[in-house]
Amino acid sequence: MNCQEVQAWLSDYVEQSLDAANLEIIESHLSLCPLCRAEADHLKECIRYIATLPSVDPPIGFTQRVMAQAREIEMQPSLWERLLFPLRIKIPIQATAVVMIGILAIYLLNKEPPDKQGFITSEATVSKKPLLRIEQGNGSPESSAEVQQPPAKSNRLADTRAPSSAAPVSKTAQTRAAGGAQEPVSADRAKSLTEEPSDSNSPSLSPVEPRGRAIIAGTPVTNSVFGSGQVPSEFESGFLRSGSVSIEPFADYEMVFRLHPQLQDQARRDNPNLSQKAGARAVAERQGAAGVLDRLLESVGDGTRPQTVWLSVSKSQYEQWKKELRAVGTIESETQIPLLRAEPGAQTNGQLQIKLTVFPATEANRATPSSPNDR
């Protein structure tokens, strides 16, 4: 037996639990091997050290403390006891609570279902939008566009519930209604229609039914411009309104357009008393593009931040419209949106829906102005 085998038996050896045969073998090895002898001695000492560690008494009152806590545990009422006892107090309280919960449940059940409420709100949001249509006065008569303002948030529901049949309806609205649109026309809107200016040279304001902008219970992000009556059928359908998300109308083309800096600068020089918008318009009128600029400036507001407008342009006039657009700025990109239908404008009576993102003039553009006729 070698040293490793002997050392494996040393625990049993020091505990004197070996049988006689093994004991003799181990002892004969230990008498010859000083290393294993020292190992056995140290192991024996370790056991003795552990065994002679002094006993430590628990703190005084240990048992009393344990028993006090045990009795506290014993005295703690169970869950059922806590719920039910004492009966003369708990039962009336619980009965009252049950009755109150029942009344509350009946009240909640009798309230309007949340789905229905949401649908009415969304419909009201769509129908209440104060809409403006700017018909072109000086520009090309074919390229008319409508400007849809962001809806006012107040009185949506009340306006929706106004009786539509009793309200006077303008010619435009009647045309829309005849076209199958089912939205109610409010009395307020009808009143505004009767006050339309009749001057044909100035942009005429007429209501436009909310089409395409399926903005449900929220503020629209952008202004929208639609052609008259050329609204894709998917925006008429109810499922697009039911929900809480904002759905953009489709567009055949997406354009990124930047207002020409020279146009604005020249406007300021010519008439410093005019506002930026009016000055730019004055210059544009000289360039024969006041109609387009009118619509754009009306759409983009103060012109200090990018704005997105939706335009409806006749397919046959598309190239002419782009030429007018280049007179007032730069078309930075033009992308045709692939749709499921075969040809752009095929289902909208030859009208192209254009999503136009208008950027104000930048310092970079000002440094290296490009000619409007470059493109």
Binding site: A8, L10, S11, D12, E39, H42, L43, E45, C46, I47, Y49, I50, A51, L53, P54, S55, V56, D57, P58, P59, F62, T63, R65, V66, M67, Q69, A70, R71, I73, E74
Partner: protein, 224 residues
């Protein structure tokens, strides 16, 4: 007549606290003797019947062993007192889970092992903890001459440091077998391993302890 008295006593003990109190007032000393005479299993049975006083007997009977075991595991007197208390309260709460197929002490050792191991792991910088020997180690200096007392103290400190450096299960197996002299079979039930595994683990743990005490052995050999 004696049988009738025993029945009345059992009924009083097991039913009304007032009856229990009455018996205590009658003869506290005789009840202590009775409680010392009854086995752990009987105490557990009475406890399960709702007699909280039976638990006191169990606490008194096992508190020293449990406290010493936990103290040697944690080497901190206050921690040991807290954990020992937790051990007994855990046993009290879960006495319904005690199946009775092992000794109550085995079950208690198992609870102590779990609590002490958990606390030992959670104590930060466990390896560097100093041993408060001067506060808690009851070295009887009157029986030893000063030189022997100092040497004894030094040995105990070295052994406790070596125990602190061991894995909790290695320390526990050494303490159960070499300090508490628990039989192999009971150690096997505490650790829930076969007896052969206990023996091999114990041998490995002792070798680890010896390795940690090697510097002390060497220095002592040099001094000699």
């Amino acid at each position: 007549m004696t049988e009738a008295n025993a029945i009345i006593k059992t009924v009083l003990l097991s039913t009304t606290p007032a009856g229990n109190l009455f018996l205590k007032k009658q003869s506290n000393k005789s009840e202590e003797m009775v409680s010392e005479a009854i086995s752990d299993a009987e105490c557990v049975r009475r406890l399960l019947q709702g007699e909280t006083g039976a638990f006191e007997t169990l606490v008194r009977r096992h508190q020293k062993a449990i406290f010493n075991l936990v103290y040697r595991m944690l080497s901190d007197y206050d921690e040991a007192a807290e954990i020992s208390q937790e051990v007994f309260l855990s046993a009290y709460r879960s006495i319904g889970q005690f199946r009775g197929d092992a000794n109550f002490s085995t079950w208690l050792y198992r609870i102590a092992l779990n609590h002490a191991s958990t606390r030992r792991r959670s104590l930060a910088k466990w390896q560097q903890r100093t041993v408060p020997m001067q506060l808690t180690e009851p070295v009887n200096e009157q029986e030893l001459d000063p030189a022997e007392a100092v040497e004894q103290k030094e040995i105990q400190e070295q052994v406790q440091k070596a125990l602190n450096g061991l894995e909790p299960r290695d320390a526990m197996i050494i303490l159960l077998k070499d300090l508490q002299d628990v039989p192999y079979e009971e150690v096997a039930r505490v650790l829930e391993v076969p007896v052969g595994t206990v023996k091999s683990r114990l041998h490995r743990a002792r070798k680890a302890l010896k390795a940690r005490l090697a510097p002390y052995f060497n220095s002592r050999g040099t001094r000699k």
